[in-house]
C-alpha cells in the first residue's frame, strides 16, 4: 500500500482547504469590517467582531460547500454584532444602576473619548457624502441596515440575504425596500 501517496493526498487536501478558506476570508474581511464598523461605530470593536466571526465560522462551517459560505459567514457576523450590542446594553444598564443621582463624581463613561470619533487623518479621508451615507445607514433600524448592506455592499441575492438574516425572502425585500426609500429621503442632496 502506498502510504506516502496517501499522506501526500491528505496533505494536498488540507492545503487546498486552507487556500480556499484563505481566499474566501480575504475576499469578505474588508466589507465585513465595514459592516461591523457601521453597526457598532467603533473600529476596535468592529475588528474584534470580525476576528471572532472568522474563528467561529471556520470552526462551525468550514466543512460546508464553498457556495454556502458567504451567507453563513454573514449570519455569524450578524449574530456577533447583535451579541455585542446586547452586551453593551447590559453593561450600560449596570453602569446606570451603580450611578447615583446625588453622586458628584465625574462619570468615567460619559467623560471617556467617543470611540466613534475618528482622528483628523481618518476624518479628512472621508468626504461629506460618505460621512452622511455612513451615518444614515448606521441610523437605520437593525433589520433594514442588515438588508441594505448585505444586498448593496456585499452583493448577496435575496435568498442568501434571507439565510444570513434568518428570515424569509419576503422580509428581506420589505426591509431592503424600506431602507432604500429611507436613505434616499435622508440623503437626497448628497446622492441624487
Amino acid at each position: 500500500m502506498d502510504y506516502d501517496g496517501l499522506g501526500s493526498a491528505q496533505g494536498d487536501r488540507t492545503l487546498n482547504e486552507r487556500l480556499a478558506m484563505d481566499r474566501f476570508l480575504a475576499d469578505v474581511e474588508r466589507r465585513a469590517f465595514r459592516i461591523a464598523d457601521i453597526a457598532v461605530r467603533n473600529a476596535d470593536d468592529a475588528l474584534d467582531i470580525v476576528q471572532d466571526s472568522m474563528m467561529r465560522f471556520v470552526r462551525r462551517y468550514s466543512a460546508k460547500p464553498e457556495n454556502e459560505w458567504a451567507p453563513l459567514f454573514f449570519r455569524v457576523l450578524r449574530n456577533r454584532i447583535i451579541d455585542h450590542q446586547r452586551g453593551q446594553s447590559v453593561r450600560g444598564r449596570v453602569m446606570a444602576w451603580f450611578s447615583r443621582p446625588d453622586d458628584d463624581r465625574e462619570d468615567p463613561v460619559a467623560s471617556a473619548p467617543d470611540p466613534s470619533m475618528r482622528n483628523p487623518e481618518q476624518q479628512a479621508g472621508l468626504d461629506d457624502a460618505m460621512s452622511a451615507l455612513e451615518q444614515a445607514v448606521g441610523e437605520l433600524p437593525e433589520r433594514q441596515r442588515e438588508a441594505f448592506l448585505l444586498r448593496t455592499m456585499e452583493g448577496l441575492d435575496v435568498a442568501d440575504t434571507a439565510t444570513a438574516m434568518g428570515c424569509s425572502d419576503g422580509s428581506v425585500k420589505q426591509h431592503y425596500y424600506r431602507a432604500v426609500r429611507s436613505l434616499r429621503a435622508a440623503l437626497g442632496d448628497h446622492w441624487s
Binding site: 478558506m21 476570508l25 468550514s62
Partner: protein, 134 residues
C-alpha cells in the same frame, strides 16, 4: 393593518435602484480604502482563524466538550436563578419569548462565559430593584 411582506409595492423604481447601486458602489469602495493598520489586523485575524481549520476538520470532540459543559452550566444556573428557592410541587415553566430565547442563545455561545459567571449578580440586582420599588 399589516403589510404583505412580499408584493409588488416592494419593487424599487429605477431612480431608487440607481441610488442603491451608487451607494453600494461607494460603500464597497470605502472597504477597499481601509488604512494599512486595519488591513494588517484583519490579516492577522484571518491567519488566526485559519489556524482553527485542523480542529474544525479533525477532532470534533474537542469542540463539543466545552460546548456541552457550557450548556450544562447554563441549564443549572438558569434553573437556580428562576426557581429562587426550594420548589414546592410541580412548577409550570412559562414559554420563553423570542427575546429570551435569543438571550439564552447568547449565554450559551462560547465566549460569553463571563455572563454566566455574572448570572448570580444579575439575579441579585433584579431582586434589589424589586425591593427598592417596594
Amino acid at each position: 393593518m399589516s403589510e404583505r411582506p412580499d408584493n409588488k409595492s416592494n419593487a424599487l423604481n429605477s431612480a431608487e435602484d440607481e441610488f442603491a447601486r451608487k451607494t453600494g458602489r461607494r460603500l464597497r469602495q470605502s472597504a477597499d480604502e481601509l488604512d494599512a493598520a486595519t488591513l494588517s489586523r484583519l490579516n492577522r485575524a484571518r491567519q488566526r482563524a485559519l489556524d482553527e481549520l485542523p480542529r474544525a476538520r479533525g477532532d470534533g470532540f474537542g469542540w463539543w466538550v466545552p460546548a456541552g459543559v457550557t450548556a450544562l452550566v447554563a441549564a443549572v444556573a438558569v434553573g437556580v436563578w428562576q426557581a429562587g428557592g426550594p420548589v414546592e410541587g410541580p412548577t409550570q415553566i412559562a414559554p420563553m419569548t423570542a427575546d429570551e430565547v435569543a438571550d439564552f442563545d447568547m449565554l450559551l455561545d462560547d465566549g460569553e462565559l463571563e455572563m454566566l459567571e455574572d448570572l448570580e449578580f444579575f439575579a441579585w440586582l433584579a431582586q434589589a430593584d424589586m425591593e427598592a420599588a417596594g
